[in-house]
C-alpha cells in the first residue's frame, strides 16, 4: 500500500465537488495552475511547407498557364479550351448517363448475386456451399475484360440459339442469342456476374462478423432462419459490408469503362470516339477524368450518409455530421485545444460507461 494521502480519499462513490470543472473546458478556478508552456517548435515543417508551396505553384503554372509549341501553332499545354468545349457536349453527356446506368445496374445485380452466394456459401448444405465456392473461384480467377468479350462474342458463337423447355425434351421458347445480347446487355451481364463474386466475399465477411448469440436470440423467440438473416443478421452485417461496398461501387464506375471494348457508348468510349476524330487525345482524357472524379465525389458523399444510417444503436459514437466535420477541420487548428469533445454529436448516444447508465 502507498503512503496515506494527507486527506482521506473520498472514494469513487463520493459526490464530486459541486463546482468541479468538467474536462475539456478552461478552468476558471486555480488560474495559477493553468499550464502556459512554450510549445515544441518544428522548423522542419516550415521548410517542408515552403517547398510544397513552390512545387504547387509550378504545377499550377504548368497545368493552367503554360503553353507549348505544336507544329507551327502555340497553344495551351493542356488545351483547357478544348476540355471546356467537350465537357458538356451531348455525346459526352450521353456517355455519362450510360456509365451511370451500367454502374447502377451491375452493382445492384452484383449485390443481389453476392448476398445469395454468401448465404449459399455459409449454408450447411455441401451442395450449395461448394456451388458458391466454384462460382467465386471462377469469376474472381478470370479477368473482367475476358469475361466481357466472352459475353459479347463467345456466347452467341457457342449458343447461337437458346431454347427453353424440358431438359433433353421438347423446347418451349426459342431465343435468338445474337439479337438478345446487345453490347449493353453483354456488359451488364459480364460486370454483374463478376461483381457478384466479389460482393459474395464482402457479404460473407459481414455475416460472419455478427455475434452468434444474435442468431440464437432470434431463434429463441421463434424466428425462422430466413427471418433472423433478414431482420437480425444482415442489418448488423451492413456496418461491415458498406465501406468495402462503397469501394466496389467506385471501382465499378471505373471498371465500366472496359465496356468500351464491346462497343458500349459509355463515357470513356464517347471520349475516345471524339479524340479519334479530332486527335485531341489528352483534353478528352481530361474530360472523361473530370466526370469520373465528379461522380466518385457524389458517391463518396452518398456512402457517408448510408454509413451514418447503419451506425444506429452502435456503442461507438456516430461519425460527425458533414458540416461539423468541415467546421472542425477549418476552424480548429489544434484538435486538443478545440472546445468540443472528440466525439458525440449531441443528438444520439452519449457514450456511457458499461455499468452505470441513466
Amino acid at each position: 500500500m502507498p503512503k496515506a494521502p494527507p486527506e482521506p480519499d473520498p472514494g469513487p462513490l463520493a459526490p464530486r465537488e459541486p463546482n468541479a470543472v468538467p474536462p475539456g473546458t478552461v478552468a476558471s478556478k486555480d488560474q495559477e495552475h493553468v499550464i502556459k508552456a512554450v510549445p515544441v517548435r518544428h522548423p522542419g515543417q516550415w521548410v517542408a511547407a515552403a517547398v510544397l508551396v513552390l512545387l504547387g505553384a509550378m504545377l499550377v503554372h504548368s497545368v493552367v498557364f503554360s503553353s507549348v509549341k505544336r507544329g507551327t501553332t502555340v497553344e495551351g499545354r493542356f488545351q483547357w479550351n478544348v476540355v471546356g468545349q467537350y465537357l458538356f457536349s451531348p455525346p459526352i453527356l450521353r456517355g455519362v448517363v450510360v456509365t451511370i446506368e451500367l454502374t447502377v445496374i451491375a452493382m445492384a445485380a452484383g449485390i443481389a448475386i453476392g448476398v445469395v452466394l454468401a448465404v449459399m456459401r455459409l449454408s450447411s448444405s455441401t451442395l450449395l456451399s461448394s456451388t458458391s465456392w466454384v462460382y467465386i473461384w471462377f469469376f474472381r480467377g478470370t479477368p473482367v475484360l475476358v469475361q466481357l468479350f466472352f459475353w459479347y462474342v463467345g456466347i452467341s458463337y457457342l449458343f447461337p440459339n437458346l431454347s427453353l423447355g424440358v431438359p433433353f425434351g421438347p423446347a418451349l421458347v426459342h431465343l435468338n442469342v445474337n439479337a438478345l445480347v446487345t453490347p449493353f446487355v453483354a456488359a451488364v451481364v459480364g460486370l454483374s456476374l463478376n461483381e457478384g463474386a466479389y460482393m459474395a466475399e464482402i457479404v460473407r465477411a459481414g455475416i460472419l462478423s455478427v455475434d452468434e448469440g444474435q442468431v440464437e436470440a432470434a431463434q429463441s423467440i421463434g424466428m425462422r432462419r430466413i427471418q433472423s438473416l433478414r431482420l437480425i443478421v444482415l442489418p448488423q452485417a451492413m456496418r461491415l459490408i458498406i465501406p468495402p461496398t462503397g469501394n466496389e461501387v467506385i471501382s465499378m464506375l471505373k471498371t465500366s469503362s472496359l465496356a468500351s471494348v464491346v462497343t458500349v457508348a459509355e463515357l470513356f468510349f464517347a471520349a475516345q470516339t471524339i479524340s479519334n476524330r479530332t486527335y485531341q487525345i489528352v483534353p478528352l482524357l481530361i474530360v472523361a477524368s473530370i466526370w469520373y472524379l465528379f461522380i466518385t465525389s457524389i458517391l463518396t458523399i452518398g456512402q457517408y450518409f448510408v454509413e451514418r444510417h447503419y451506425a444506429r444503436g452502435s456503442a461507438r459514437p456516430k461519425p460527425p455530421r458533414l458540416w461539423e466535420k468541415l467546421a472542425r477541420n477549418l476552424f480548429s487548428v489544434h484538435p486538443l485545444r478545440s472546445g468540443s469533445p472528440p466525439f458525440g454529436d449531441g443528438t444520439g448516444a452519449a457514450p456511457v460507461s458499461p455499468s452505470g447508465a441513466r
Binding site: A217, Q219, I221, Q227, Q236, G313, A349, P354, S355
Partner: protein, 269 residues
C-alpha cells in the same frame, strides 16, 4: 440414435404428459466430448428449478437442448408432453422441419448470459419484433403489451433507447421482457446475472422473483445460491454431465447428500 426400451416408455410418456419438462436418459456429445451422459429430470408446471454445478457440467447445454438450440443424441426430451425436435409415429422418429421447431421455440422464452439484445433496434422494437414477426400480431397490440412488460421490469422510460445506452442490468431486464412478449409457457435462464456488475444483479433477480410468484415455470442455471434458496422450488446439482443430486433447496444447499455437492458448495458459498 435414440434409446427407447419398450417396457419403460409407457410410464415415462405418461409422466411426460403431466410435466412441463421431462428428460429421460438424455445424451449429448460435441464431437468426442460427451457433455450430457444420461440426464433424468422433471419440471412440473409452475415449478422454479435452479440448476447449479461447476462450469462444464452440462447445465447450459441441457438448457439449450430444451428449446432445440442443440440436438440431442440419445434419450427422450418432452416439453409440455411433446417431444422436442422430433415427431413420433409408432416406433419411428421423424426430424421436425424448421417451421415446426420454430413454432415450439416460440412457446419457450430464453434469457442469455450475455443478453443478446438486438443492438440495431430500440428497446421497444426488441420487445415487439417477436410477436409481430413470428405471431403476426399488429403493431398496436404488440406495442401495448411491450409497454406493459417494460413497465413490469421497470424500464418504461427506456422504450426509445438503444441497448448499448443501457446498463447490463437494464439490458437483461429488456431481454426478459422480450422473452415474455411471446407469452411463453416456460422460461429458461442461462446464467442471467453472471455478466453483470454486482450492484446490478439485484434488479434482475427481483424481476425473476416476481415472475416466479406469478406462477411461471422456470429453469434457471445460476450461481446465485441465495436466489436458488429463496425462489427455487427445486435445486438440481449437475456435475460431469449427470444429475448428482436434486431436491428441496434448503435440503440440497445446506445438507447435501453427496460428497461432490458438498465439495462444490464449499467452494461457492
Amino acid at each position: 440414435m435414440t434409446t427407447a426400451s419398450g417396457g419403460d416408455r409407457e410410464p415415462g410418456t405418461r409422466r411426460a404428459q403431466v410435466e412441463m419438462v421431462h428428460a429421460e436418459g438424455l445424451h449429448k456429445s460435441f464431437g468426442r466430448l460427451e457433455v450430457l451422459k444420461g440426464i433424468e429430470l422433471s419440471v412440473a408446471p409452475g415449478e422454479v428449478l435452479c440448476l447449479i454445478g461447476p462450469s462444464g457440467s452440462g447445465k447450459s447445454t441441457f438448457l439449450r437442448c430444451i428449446n432445440h438450440l442443440e440436438k440431442i443424441d440419445a434419450g427422450r426430451l418432452y416439453v409440455d408432453g411433446e417431444l422436442v425436435g422430433y415427431r413420433q409415429h409408432g416406433d419411428k422418429l421423424y426430424e421436425m422441419r424448421d417451421r415446426e421447431v420454430c413454432q415450439r421455440r416460440a412457446q419457450i422464452g430464453m434469457v442469455f448470459q450475455r443478453f443478446n439484445l438486438f443492438p440495431h433496434m430500440k428497446v421497444l422494437d426488441n420487445v415487439t419484433i417477436g410477436p409481430m414477426r413470428v405471431k403476426g400480431e399488429s403493431l398496436a397490440k404488440a406495442a401495448e403489451r411491450a409497454h406493459r412488460l417494460l413497465e413490469r421490469v421497470e424500464l418504461a422510460d427506456k422504450v426509445d433507447a438503444y441497448p448499448n445506452q443501457l446498463s447490463g442490468g437494464q439490458q437483461q431486464r429488456v431481454a426478459i421482457a422480450r422473452a415474455l412478449a411471446m407469452e411463453p409457457k416456460l422460461m429458461l435462464f442461462d446464467e442471467p446475472t453472471s455478466a453483470l456488475d454486482p450492484e446490478l444483479v439485484g434488479d434482475v433477480l427481483d424481476v425473476m422473483r416476481k415472475l416466479a410468484e406469478d406462477g411461471m415455470t422456470m429453469i434457471v442455471v445460476t450461481h446465485e445460491m441465495g436466489f436458488a434458496r429463496e425462489v427455487g422450488d427445486t435445486v438440481v446439482f449437475m456435475d460431469g454431465g449427470v444429475v448428482v443430486e436434486s431436491g428441496d433447496p434448503r435440503q440440497v444447499l445446506t445438507q447435501p447428500a453427496h460428497a461432490r455437492t458438498r465439495a462444490f458448495l464449499s467452494k461457492v458459498l
